[in-house]
């Protein structure tokens, strides 16, 4: 057992965890933040994507102890406040970028990071390539890509791309 502390969605948390605990298990089981999903546990599907110190990470490919001292943002903490959505969340909702919704939190976290890295300058082809690590089995990705394009535009216009991730 190791004691770890980190900031998750702006709140300081600490816990004793087994060294082998995956970050995703810590988030889901210890913290009860179940919006981060587990699709494969082998870093293939992207459903578990969160932000670690502002960068998108598949939380099943990282141990909780490796996140010691880090700032973590999960889908539950992405929105700036309880009654406003993050522009990427808003775009996914508006452009129907989901069917079963299981891939959605991971998609949104990857998209927010992608927009930050490209400073909002994203074309369809780049989005498609950048999204290869996030699988969706329901949609044909069309509305997901459309949502990301729209969010990138909104965020570039409002200058939010610098702060896409907390």
């Amino acid at each position: 057992m190791t004691q770890i502390s980190m900031t998750v969605n702006g709140k300081a948390v600490s816990a004793d965890v087994e060294d082998r605990t995956l970050l995703v298990s810590f988030i889901r089981e210890h913290l009860g933040l179940t919006g981060t999903h587990v699709g494969c546990e082998t870093s293939q599907c992207g459903a578990c994507t969160v932000h670690v110190d502002g960068q998108a990470m598949k939380s099943c490919s990282m141990l909780a102890v490796m996140a010691q001292g880090a700032e973590i943002t999960t889908i539950e903490g992405l929105a700036p406040s309880a009654d406003t959505l993050h522009p990427v969340q808003e775009a996914f909702r508006e452009h129907h970028g989901l069917q079963c919704g299981f891939c959605t939190p991971g998609m949104i976290m990857s998209a927010a990071d992608m927009i930050r890295r490209y400073e909002g300058k994203l074309d369809e082809k780049t989005i498609r390539e950048q999204l290869e690590g996030n699988l969706c089995r329901c949609t044909g990705y069309h509305n997901i890509v459309k949502a990301i394009e729209a969010a990138a535009e909104t965020m570039a216009q409002s200058g939010e791309t610098q702060t896409a991730s907390a």
Binding site: V38, Q99, G101, P105, E132, C138, G140, Y141
Partner: protein, 765 residues
């Protein structure tokens, strides 16, 4: 005029999904003392169990209980129709990875670790794993189904030309993003099971049978699934039965989420097929006779294989009239995982036979395959009876296909592609194009399943609670059925509260499958809503002394002469006037009758139609291939919700494309699934989608009395992707001698494309 149906409405759970607050089974809060389950999987294939030593499993830290077949109080069965699929192996191991026992432990990790600590001594038995081996050994689940018309041998012999070929069609793993999961909660009133399943009623029955209790003591609930595609129709049952058993034995809640690798190994897949085709035709490409054999790998048990193979037969003609025919369906029994439902349910494999034979004919007579397709379509006069004796009355393909050819500029593009391929010289790039149709029969072919129930409660404040037997797996069923209820009751969509599917609210339901979800449950909800509307109308007319009817629209109840009241006011008055505000609706599909014994009848209420043009590019040095552009024209009748239907068409097409181009299941000689994780089993990712994908809805009201004249949409679009496979074969055919069509198998992976090019090059020498 309608106000709520025939309009785009987003998925009802959208706002929750984007914030990560829409819970799936594994996200639900569970009692602190909940146990976790894990199966111990057979490390060998077909074998007899000599000894199974579980002492180390019992001794492992955190283990609370371990069960084997002997511990099941009732029936040791997870098979839905024929009870030939043991929940836990009993004496014999039937396929590699079969569940031998189940551990219940304090944590998921403890259960998973303990599940590996068994010692098995077994004696290996001979294993049949492929269709070829099983057919050779005459290993079948049951006898063949045969459709016959006329003297096919004579028809083929007398025809100007004939062609014979063999086509292998691969299986497909569902890869629902949310793996199988279940939660069993014991209580004084019985067991409450929350499952990620398309078929709660069946799980209720199987749990009751396994535990030797009555169905009334088991409630199965499902709010949503993270994708299913047929893979949670029967395959969700084992987890729920075993979780229920654990909960019953320990008095504690049991959670069970399958690890993804175990999910691949343990659950059935789309059946892979071998199609043998002989066809006779004239110089214009008109088909005279078809002799086809469809053999599929069913695995070790029945599951739904009978109905799936029946459906392969129903679609082995796809859109084409075969004047003389003999079609035979062989259901191979193998020592592999028992294959199951997957979007299309055998239909796609049957259609592959039809489309391949048409391509063969077209190549032989040197015509554009589109012209041969059009020439062989069913018509409404002398060529309208299917091999199973159903007359087609709603065929729109003779209009739909030319319309798509026109809007997609098919002919000019095909000419340009043929020119470009001919002058490609040393460039490794070749292109291909194909336009293929889909005609998909709608109804469960097991006729009694075509029934559904709904329950609507109106509360005193005018709010409405909707419940029905259909399950939500992302396909948008809940929003569609809510639209129907809102339309009939004349309220806004937001006024109808959607609730989870529960066997204690609407009993004895069929699986949400066969694309029938909104057809069946939509009608059941409509009937419940109509019943309530009629009660309110009768009451209010009497109360207000109104002659004539009332209209319910936009939250108001109005008379013809312009008097109008808020819906909620009428509801409250009706309550005070002692009118029941709760109603059930029950629907059964009319007209269908199908006799499996004679192979004749009307299995379907109607057909859904569509067509797609796909253009592909292959790299002839590497076999790499991609779809450059696809144009789809699809018939959903009068769409209940065009946005949802678009999503289904796009998703279905891309999933079909994955099946036919990249998703390859590889088995070991003794039948292990070797591609048991997304690292080795590739589904389409964002960059695999066609660069251009145009989707249009064909304007066509359903000729039958379906819910608001709509048509089912879940499965049919998957088969639009057959155009991709045909286009790939077209690209490869640029290496074929004139008159030959390549025997490209499915999936057309890079390796398969290279292999076929090599064959065609030798043929050309």
């Amino acid at each position: 005029m309608t106000h709520v149906v025939h309009r785009p409405h987003p998925h009802d759970s959208g706002p929750l999904h984007v914030t990560g607050t829409a819970p799936y089974v594994d996200d639900l809060p569970t009692p602190a003392n909940a146990l976790h389950a894990c199966f111990g999987l057979a490390p060998v294939g077909h074998a007899t169990i000599d000894t199974l030593d579980l002492s180390a499993v019992w001794a492992a830290p955190g283990v609370v209980d371990v069960v084997t077949a002997a511990d099941i109080p009732g029936e040791n069965n997870a098979g839905p129709v024929i009870h030939d699929e043991p929940l836990l192996a009993d004496g014999t191991i039937l396929f590699p990875g079969q569940a031998l026992f189940c551990v219940f432990a304090e944590t998921r990790l403890a259960a998973r670790k303990a599940a590996r600590l068994f010692t098995l001594e077994s004696t290996e038995l001979p294993a049949l794993t492929t269709v070829d081996e099983a057919v050779e050994a005459h290993s079948f689940l049951h006898g063949p189904l045969v459709f016959e018309r006329g003297d096919v041998s004579k028809a083929i012999e007398d025809a100007d030309y004939s062609s014979s070929s063999r086509l292998y069609i691969g299986g497909q793993e569902h890869f629902y993003l949310e793996g199988q999961g279940s939660l069993a909660l014991p209580s004084a009133d019985g067991l409450h099971i929350i499952s990620s399943t398309q078929h709660p009623s069946e799980i209720q029955d199987l749990v009751a049978e396994a535990l030797n209790i009555s169905a009334a003591e088991v409630t199965v609930e499902v709010r949503r699934m993270g994708g299913a595609f047929g893979g949670k129709e029967t395959q969700a049952a084992p987890l729920s039965i075993i979780a229920a058993l654990g909960a019953n034995r320990t008095g504690r809640a049991v959670r069970f989420r399958l690890d993804r690798d175990d999910d691949f190994v343990l659950t059935g897949k789309r059946h892979d097929f071998r199609a043998d085709i002989r066809v006779g035709f004239d110089a214009s490409g008109l088909i005279k006779g078809v002799d086809g054999i469809l053999a599929s790998r069913c695995g070790y048990g029945h599951d739904l294989s009978r109905a799936i193979n029946d459906r392969a037969m129903f679609h082995a003609d796809n859109a084409y009239f075969y004047p003389a025919l003999e079609l035979t369906s062989l259901r191979a029994k193998t020592h592999t995982v028992s294959n199951t439902a997957f979007r299309g349910f055998g239909g796609p494999q049957g259609m592959m036979l039809a489309e391949r034979l048409v391509d063969k004919v077209a190549a032989a007579v040197h015509r554009d395959p589109l012209d041969v397709r059009l020439a062989n379509l069913y018509n409404e006069t002398d060529r309208s009876v299917t091999p199973y004796g159903m007359t087609i009355e709603d065929n729109v393909l003779p209009q739909l296909m030319p319309q798509l050819a026109e809007t997609s500029d098919y002919r000019a593009r095909r000419a340009a592609i043929i020119d470009a391929n001919a002058s490609a010289g040393r460039s490794p790039v070749r292109r291909g194009i194909a336009l293929t149709p889909v005609r998909f029969g709608i109804s469960f072919t097991t006729s009694f399943l075509n029934q559904a129930g709904a329950l609507i409660n109106i509360y005193k404040d005018g709010s409405i609670l909707l419940n029905h037997g259909g399950t939500e797996m992302g396909q948008g069923l809940f929003v569609k059925v809510a639209q129907v209820a809102a339309e009939v009751l004349g309220v806004g969509l937001d006024d109808v509260k959607i609730s989870s599917t529960r066997t204690d609210k609407v009993p004895n339901t069929s699986a949400t499958a066969a694309s029938s979800g909104s057809d069946l449950n939509g009608w059941a909800a409509k009937l419940a809503a109509l019943e309530l509307r009629n009660r309110l109308t009768a009451f209010w007319c009497a109360e207000q002394g109104i002659d004539g009817g009332l209209t319910f629209a936009q939250g108001r109840v109005s008379t013809e002469d312009g008097q109008s009241w808020p819906f909620a006011e009428v509801v409250r008055a009706a309550y005070m006037g002692r009118v029941s505000l709760s109603a059930t609706g029950y629907y059964r599909t009319p007209k269908i009758d199908w006799d499996a014994k004679t192979g004749q009848g009307r299995p379907f209420l109607y057909f859904a139609y569509g067509a797609a043009v796909s253009e592909v590019e292959i790299d002839t040095l590497t076999g790499a291939n991609r779809v450059i552009r696809a144009d789809i024209l699809h018939d959903v009748g009068r769409s209940l919700n065009p946005d949802i239907d678009h999503g289904q068409i796009e998703g279905g097409f891309v999933q079909g494309m994955g099946w036919l181009t990249m998703e390859e299941l590889v088995y070991s000689a003794r039948g292990d699934v070797l591609t048991h994780a997304p690292s080795t089993y590739k589904i389409p990712c964002a960059s695999d989608r066609p660069d251009v994908l145009n989707i249009d809805l064909f304007d066509n009201a359903n000729a039958e009395d379906t819910i608001f004249k709509s048509k089912a949409v879940g499965e049919p679009p998957l088969m639009l992707a057959i155009s991709v496979h045909s286009a790939l074969a077209h690209a490869v055919s640029s290496f074929s001698p004139r008159g030959r069509w390549p025997d490209l198998d499915a999936p057309a992976t890079a390796e398969e494309i290279l292999r076929t090019i090599a064959t065609e090059r030798t043929q050309a020498l």
